[in-house]
């Protein structure tokens, strides 16, 4: 049983207090929603979500404050207020606060606040997706879990593919772009994991698919169903760091050959994709960068191309967000979300990630430790080294602390504890000494020693039988002797 708590403070502006609010203010209300994710074997998680409401009858709107990870502040404005544009009932800022238009009754307000929590923290679906590999098959669709798995670190590789160096000399200021655009985003995500960034340029790397020429637009088109085959021939040349075991995210920038320019990507309906880019879950993304044809036909080849890194990074960072599962598409229409700007993601989106990763880590640790226990039960004479034992103890202590902290609403501490728990449990489970090959099953020992000892045992058993017979006869004899 894991409890997830979102501490939420509600501030009422003047004229926005619903009529049926119980007096006296301030008061605390705890709303629980129990969502059980059914699973076959323990641990099953059911998630009550208490929402704490502290009401303030003060007039002034407090300035937006930076609140701690995981908590939310909601400001309720009067129904007729012009702070929110027409038709918009909720405005979500890029920190951890939201402006909500007041409604008449407390129950309706609570419903709206519940919606806000769902957008800004987690939904039952997002938690279930984080647990998708523990849920028995058949309950979730096969593509339920396409986001990156929670890991201690990720390697990001930016690659420039130039299949036609004779026509294009491509210069990209990747270091500058990484420092200006990518580092802020990774800095924000540094709470979630460690990131390492590298870049490379690959020459004569072609996509595996020949694009089709389209007369109407006089351009080349890559259709949607040929895209999955694009990645494979390139991947063989991409490489990865030999030393680290972290998942690699590849972002490829492809400058098409002169003979295949301009190249556009078509989606399923045949319309060209505006970003000219596509991504593959858990792998990375590819963007096609078209170079304009030279103005004069006598232009000397190779053409010098200076890549507009800002445009490229806009797409790559958007792909990075999508790979992590931070999509803004499923927000109800009456919500208005503030853009995250150069930081790449809003504070509450970071919370989103942390909630999902914490829950996933806790589930991983519990299944790992359970299966380790099962393995040790099955092979009775396995030797547990001291350090393996200490890792197991540490994992158990960390996961218990993570669960307690989650139920108190301390998201940051819970996440750190869950990370430690995962590290320890993986180290214990994957310790090289636990290979069951090194421990012989009993029937193998039997099979080796029986042919050795059985023939040897035959005369011994016969002799023993003879001794027993003699002793018995001797016992009978004294009665005969005189």
């Amino acid at each position: 049983q894991v409890q997830l708590v979102v501490p939420m403070a509600v501030v009422f502006g003047p004229g926005s207090v619903p009529g049926d609010l119980p007096r006296p203010l301030p008061f605390r209300d705890v709303q629980e929603m129990e969502i059980s994710v059914n699973c076959e074997r323990p641990p099953c998680l059911s998630l009550p979500r208490p929402l704490l409401m502290g009401g303030l009858a003060d007039a002034a709107l407090h300035p937006l404050q930076d609140t701690t990870l995981g908590s939310l502040t909601v400001y309720v404005v009067p129904e007729t207020s012009s702070l929110l544009p027409q038709g918009i009932n909720v405005y979500v800022g890029k920190h951890r606060s939201a402006l909500v238009r007041a409604v008449g009754s407390l129950a309706a307000l609570q419903a709206r606040l519940r919606e806000v929590t769902q957008v800004m923290s987690f939904t039952a679906a997002s938690i279930a997706a984080a647990l998708s590999d523990r849920v028995p098959d058949g309950r979730l669709s096969p593509d339920a879990r396409r986001d990156l798995k929670s890991s201690l670190g990720y390697e990001i590789t930016f690659s420039l593919l130039n299949p036609d160096p004779k026509s294009h000399t491509v210069d990209w200021d990747i270091e500058g772009a990484v420092n200006r655009y990518v580092k802020p985003v990774l800095d924000k995500l540094s709470l979630v994991a460690n990131f390492s960034v590298d870049s490379q340029i690959l020459y004569y790397a072609v996509l595996g698919v020949t694009p089709r020429y389209d007369k109407e637009s006089s351009s080349f088109l890559l259709s949607a169903h040929s895209l999955p085959h694009v990645i494979n021939p390139v991947e063989a040349r991409l490489g990865s760091s030999a030393a680290s075991l972290y998942p690699v995210l590849n972002f490829l920038l492809y400058v098409p050959e002169r003979s295949h320019s301009p190249l556009y990507i078509q989606d399923k309906d045949g319309a060209p994709v505006s970003t000219n880019a596509f991504h593959s879950p858990r792998w990375g993304g590819i963007m096609v960068y078209n170079v304009e044809a030279p103005a004069s036909p006598q232009a000397s080849f190779p053409l010098h191309v200076d890549v507009d890194m800002a445009r490229v990074m806009e797409v790559f960072l958007a792909q990075l967000r999508l790979l992590f599962g931070l999509s803004r598409e499923e927000v109800p229409p009456e919500f208005l979300l503030e853009g995250p700007g150069n930081e790449g993601l809003a504070d509450w989106e970071l919370d989103h990630l942390l909630w999902a990763h914490t829950v996933e880590n806790i589930a991983t640790v519990s299944t790992t430790l359970t299966s380790l226990a099962q393995l040790l039960d099955k092979i009775g004479n396995i030797v547990i080294k001291d350090d393996v034992a200490s890792e197991v103890y540490r994992a158990v202590a960390s996961v218990q602390s993570a669960v307690t902290k989650l139920s108190l609403g301390h998201l940051h501490a819970a996440f750190q504890a869950s990370k430690e728990a995962v590290t320890s449990s993986e180290r214990a489970f994957f310790d090289p000494s636990l290979l069951h090959l090194l421990y012989f099953p009993d029937d193998q020992k039997f099979a080796i020693y029986i042919p050795l000892f059985l023939p040897m045992a035959v005369p011994i058993l016969l002799s023993l039988a003879k001794i027993v017979r003699e002793t018995r006869m001797r016992k009978k004899e004294p009665t005969k002797m005189d």
Partner: protein
Amino acid sequence: MSFGVEDQAEQFFRSGHTNNWAVLVCTSRFWFNYRHVANTLSVYRSVKRLGIPDSHIVLMLADDMACNPRNPKPATVFSHKNMELNVYGDDVEVDYRSYEVTVENFLRVLTGRIPPSTPRSKRLLSDDRSNILIYMTGHGGNGFLKFQDSEEITNVELADAFEQMWQKRRYNELLFIIDTCQGASMYERFYSPNIMALASSQVGEDSLSHQPDLGIGVHLMDRYTFYVLEFLEEIHPASQTNMNDLFQVCPKSLCVSTPGHRTDLFQRDPQKVLITDFFGSVRKVEMTTETLSLDRDVAGFESKFPEEELATEPLKYAEQLPVAQIIHQKPKQKDWHPPGGFILGLWALIIMVFFKTYGIKHMKHVF
């Protein structure tokens, strides 16, 4: 071959995997087992052709064919007679070669219990959305497979290894193909979900080799793998052939042995499973429709978490080794020896019984 784009999209999302791995093992060594190496290398070529990159293939070979002194064509391994196809080629990447192909290493690769110093290319870094193809060939018997003439792996150990993989969700679906004598016995004991298995012969039958080449002097391929490869030659990355067709490959008339398969542990219907789900690497893609709007006039960035410049001395040699781990290890017991007292006690018992039975007077004849 015309099919609607909608259907394609549906196909993509049915299997649920995002990456493919292959573990190809040839368990024999020595010149006369040429055909096993040729089998494995041919499967390796097909799998690479269909898209799985070397970084996702773990190839375990004894690798003593190409440079064997008995090889009349050095640096080649042929799979068809008349030396049509050199499957060794220029870019074969063998991850475990020669004496590294042991049962222990194979199980370590599968379960992931690898020493930390192992490089990335020797690891199976699969996750819960990986489809893995495992191909094994060599000499086998009822319930075991011989590794390099010195050890065996039993079907129980293999089933346990797969269960360990399942516990840690190291695969989404697994296809196990084995081409040895009595191969069906190796998949009898599997009990983890999402495994499909194919074997070249049933228990009690031998798998036969295909054709000798008189120039090289050995048999070049095994029948089952030969016909599987002919079947795979017609598969290209976009083909829609399903597993039922693979089950029909090599009927008894061609193969002499009866190939078998096992699908009861597999969740999906084999009719709906594409060959490229395991042999190829077809990725799911999504169009990127969102962009982030970045402020272009951003000067240099100062990290919120400046890296602390700690004045560290370079570590002394002893501190760089995991000494704490080494000295706390209990000694690794490689072989189980019965305690010495047991043998002594046994012999004492034998001698005592012997002399009790036949009389102490025989002692002087012995000593």
